[in-house]
């Protein structure tokens, strides 16, 4: 492993400096870091880490492996795991109520990449310093990830793992018909039609159209494929009501109308789409990185060993292939923690080379640190998603707005009926969506 103690120390020092410098700025706003020691504790301490279950390739708990490795490096710090509620939304609610009411634990929590702005805005996360001051540290991560964990030029979370959307396909069926994985959506439409007509599969293409965040991700990607965007980079101007928006929406509802996708995609989140694909019912699946492992799980999948993965296609005539919504999970520090030094040390360590390498070589989670993701040893593994990840281009949701949850709600609640019905007035839906997004952006939506 190409791990040098010096690089670790350098990264840590840069960040500690960044943190301290960050405190000096922005007078007037109470800074939770002010006057508190970020030094590593000399006495033994125990910190709580809230994280969902992360299994490695052997089915063991990756979190425990990481905790042990960290403990070896910092014997004074013991990390204890906290049980978490199963769904992202419920987990977020638990954290917001707990931390808003001043709970000192969990000291560190793994949060969705859509959370930083909302959590920062509501004082639920510890600011980790100005981005500009930690430039060396942050240059190790792809720009979209740095953008995603930042709010008002400060960093709010240490990146842990990436979620990238791929197109999974039944390699056996394509081979049988002498077909290639599709390079455009139009081609996918035709290919899926041939496979369903031949009676090889029940559905052509399954994805996530349920009235929830997952539809916002699916729509944001299609919109970007068509050359559009939900909002501008600063999440200020609403851009969704456009020709690209119409093309994306009409294609998505057309998939249902033409029978390429079942109307049930209007109720599918990740789990349901995954079940349909791994049960052998569908030729194509749009899903995140984890789906490679799930589709190839012996015993858990009827299509194990028959699956291929590629980056998402795009529309004919559009020059933007390989797009994926940026997803992923990052470690936040509770601003009320009693063990700030230890909490910072752990959250930062998970984002750095040693932990990222352990994760990349033993588990299906895609590392965030560019150097680890480019490591030939990592890329060369059985899992093709690692190799493809480096080529992915990211679509960033307007998570820079502290009102992102309401903005997203305006998107998925208006788009969902069109998908369920397999068509309708896309223009009217888009203007209603844009109006709802503007109200949400201005903080007027409930």
């Amino acid at each position: 492993m190409r791990l040098s103690r010096r690089s670790l120390l350098a990264g840590g020092a840069a960040l500690a400096a960044a943190s301290l410098a960050g405190c000096a700025r922005e007078a007037g706003v109470a800074d939770p870091m002010a006057g508190r020691s970020t030094e590593l504790p000399e006495e033994p301490v125990t910190i709580d880490w809230l994280s969902q279950e992360l299994s490695d390739n052997e089915g063991n708990d990756l979190r425990r492996t990481l905790i042990e490795a960290f403990h070896k490096r910092h014997p004074t710090i013991t990390v204890r795991l906290v049980q978490v509620p199963p769904t992202t939304d419920v987990r977020r609610t638990t954290l917001t109520t707990q931390i808003a009411s001043g709970a000192v634990t969990p000291d560190v929590y793994l949060g969705d990449c859509a959370w930083p702005a909302q959590f920062a805005h509501h004082s639920l996360a510890m600011p980790l310093g100005m981005l500009s001051d930690g430039a060396d540290f942050w240059s190790g991560y792809p720009d979209p990830i740095v953008t995603a964990v930042s709010y008002e030029d400060r960093a709010w979370a240490f990146p842990m793992y990436l979620d990238i959307a791929f197109l999974y396909y039944r390699a056996d069926l394509l081979h049988k018909h002498g077909l290639e994985p599709p390079a455009t959506w139009e081609e996918l439409h035709r290919t899926a039609g041939r496979l369903t007509e031949a009676g090889d599969v029940r559905y052509g293409f399954v994805w996530q159209g349920a009235s929830s965040e997952t539809l916002t991700c699916n729509f944001a990607e299609m919109l970007a494929d068509a050359g559009g965007a939900l909002m501008d980079e600063r999440a200020e101007e609403v851009l969704v009501d456009s020709d690209a928006g119409r093309r994306a929406l009409e294609f998505m509802s057309g998939l249902v109308a033409d029978g390429v996708s079942p109307a049930a995609v209007g109720t599918f989140a990740e789990e349901q789409a995954m079940t349909a694909f791994s049960g052998g019912q569908s030729a194509f699946l749009r899903n995140w990185s984890y789906a490679w492992g799930a589709a190839n799980a012996p015993g858990g999948s009827a299509v194990a060993g028959k699956v291929g993965a590629t980056l998402r296609p795009t529309f004919e005539g559009s020059g933007r292939p390989r797009l994926s919504t940026l997803g992923g999970w990052h470690n936040f520090v509770n601003p009320h923690t009693r063990h700030l030094g230890a909490a910072l040390a752990f959250a930062r360590w998970v984002a750095q080379e040693e932990a990222q390498t352990i994760m990349a070589t033993t588990s299906p989670y895609t590392p965030t640190l560019s150097s680890v993701l480019a490591d030939p040893e990592v890329v060369g593994q059985d899992n093709p998603t690692f190799g493809l990840s480096a080529d992915a281009e990211f679509v960033v949701r307007p998570t820079q707005s502290p009102h992102y949850p309401q903005i997203s709600k305006a998107i998925y609640t208006t788009a969902n009926p069109l998908i369920v019905d397999g068509g309708g007035d896309a223009g009217a839906v888009l203007s209603e969506m844009a109006e709802g997004m503007r109200r949400a952006r201005d903080g007027e939506a409930l």
């Binding site: 109470a30 808003a100 109307a263 049930a264 349901q272 009926p417």
Partner: protein
Amino acid sequence: MTTGLSRPTAPARPRPDPGGGAPRRGSGTVRRDAVERRMARTGWLYTAPSLLVIGGVTIFPIVFSLVLSFSQVRITYDGFAIDALTFGNYVALLSSSDWYYALGFTVFYTVVTVAVEVVLGTMAALVMERLGAGRGWIMALLLIPWSMITVVSAQLWAYMYNSSYGVITWAVEAVTGSTPLILGQPAPAIGAMMVADIWKTTPFVAIIVLAGLVMLPRDVYEAAEVDGANAWTTFWRVTLPQLRSTIAVAVLFRILQAFGVFDLPFVLTGGGPGIATQSLAVMGYKVLFQDLNIGPGAAVATTTGLLVAGACLLFLKAFKAQVGKEEVA
């Protein structure tokens, strides 16, 4: 709890002297007053712990939530900060189409489910009353849906309604030939949620009505029989009027529960598709805890509380007026 409060204090009030106008007989009365005061003090002392608990877990949160609903609230690193007092939260509520929808949906859901449950529950109770030896067993069976935790039963219904492997989806498909999206479209989702609720709470109504039924006096029935009333007339003229107060209790409990429904839509549909099954309670939860919109969230909670209290009072008043009219007649 109120009895605990009023009993010890009541004697402390000065009583009219039984001697009427006669001069007080000095020390005896004084001693009795002192005893009563001491008893009152002891009473307060005994009830103090429960009063403190009620104040802490019921009164304070209600008042605090009321204050929050009139405040501009911000979460800071030092806890909640109230920036200003405002009517803005209520203005936001009244200008939100989502709130009107949630209100309409909650009222509709309450009226339909409670009405169906009362009819079905009363019918079930009438049947059970006639049962002999098997009644105990039937009652136990009937109580299973009611005793099941809603989170669990809602999850079971969610499996049955599931659009790819649900047994109900399969059955509908077998009959009609097309695959229904039960939880994916507004009208079927609302219907599906009502069915799940009716399945679960009809037994509750049935048990309460049955308790009322078995306590009805026999002689009235005998008199009706002598007068030549048939079963239909007996039910409408004899049984139902006497069951009124029992049914009123059941309806009251059901209104309170149905209006605050949260667990069923939360698990079954998440309030969706879109906001089709978003009750006021689910909306309050989302605004408060997911979006951290504390002020407007508190306003949702407060208005919901007021509305359900108003609905119950109105129902009780209507019920009393009805009973009063009959008694006069």
